[in-house]
Symmetry: C2
Subunit: 233 residues, 2 copies
Amino acid sequence: MSTGQEHTVKAFDQDIGQLRALISQMGGLAEQAIEDAMLALSRGDAELANEVRKKDKQIDAIEAELEKLVVRVIALRAPMADDLREVIAALKIAAVIERIGDYAKNIAKRVPLIHAEGEERIDVVSILPSMGQLAADMVHDVLDAYSARDPEAAIRVCKRDNALDDFYDSIFRTLVTYMVENSRTISQVAHLLFVAKNLERVGDHATNVAEMVYFAATGEYMAERETGEAGAN
Amino acid sequence: MSTGQEHTVKAFDQDIGQLRALISQMGGLAEQAIEDAMLALSRGDAELANEVRKKDKQIDAIEAELEKLVVRVIALRAPMADDLREVIAALKIAAVIERIGDYAKNIAKRVPLIHAEGEERIDVVSILPSMGQLAADMVHDVLDAYSARDPEAAIRVCKRDNALDDFYDSIFRTLVTYMVENSRTISQVAHLLFVAKNLERVGDHATNVAEMVYFAATGEYMAERETGEAGAN
């Protein structure tokens, strides 16, 4: 970022600071949303699940605010080269965080379907909460990497995506086996399958942000071997 | 859009035309990808599925090209107000189309898992191809709405999303019932569940684009009742 003394440069730095603050705020809400959705899921807490759904509107509202700010910054400051790329990156990262929030909301929506009244209580996947924590941690860490503009931290986030994919593969197999053996709860377990898939997608999106952070910090694309590729399960 | 005679205005119109052409190209590829992935699925054609996966890189490459063009247009032309919003909208629409391409790729990835060698041939969901066609049609129609800047056509796309959600709900129930009765094929059918979910998500994204088209054409947000809300299944 430029450090010039001109009025417009200082104003631009303030704008960028504001964009970054909005992204941190969105990211904090998204991380919390994943944790709360997973808590609601393990407790069968429909009220908490409902709160996660409501709070998603806050994330959407911040994204809309950020978008307006981006348009204003570009129109007023006419940023060039690196500065412009940083503004565009903020727009893209915000869109990804909004999607992460949607995945948390989707998990929350499934809580009442999984713990439906009169239905058998199911508690088949002991490692699902650990998977949820890893996904939330990746979101947390990639936002730290973004704040610190730290390409090494971004690489570390990407590497953890493989662990998340392994979690998913293992949970997929466990759930399918469970369905084979417990046909009464197949519908509930199918929803759990989507929960695991949503968490796996959260990891993919954290990885996407990490790649953008890396690119913004180094001007180069992250090597393919660092990024990992999502499985098809 | 402005129709002034100045050199820079004409150049800007050309840029916008180029952005729109790139979006049409991406959209055409995404629509084709959905159709091909669904064809590969019904035929059990692993080769065609593989081609869909390869072609997704083209969509990604066009998005990257569009992004560079956006940065160049903003830097060179310093567009204001409506023009700037149109440029930002192109960036956002391209990102959504890229995601639609990813869903088609994800369907293609599941073809060999659903039609695994030595596994039972399953053919449980006769309405899945119709759902695929509806999703592809929505992508086609929303791109037409974008080209024509037609807010009424955008509303029609959103209304069809409800039909897609109904397809999904029906397929979800059919597949769960099938799993209950055929435990040997649960893993394959679980993949079909994800295929249906991917198509449902394609519809959501077509709806997102339709909302952007509507906003760009009218300056107003589409009324909530027109947009439909995705189910949680």
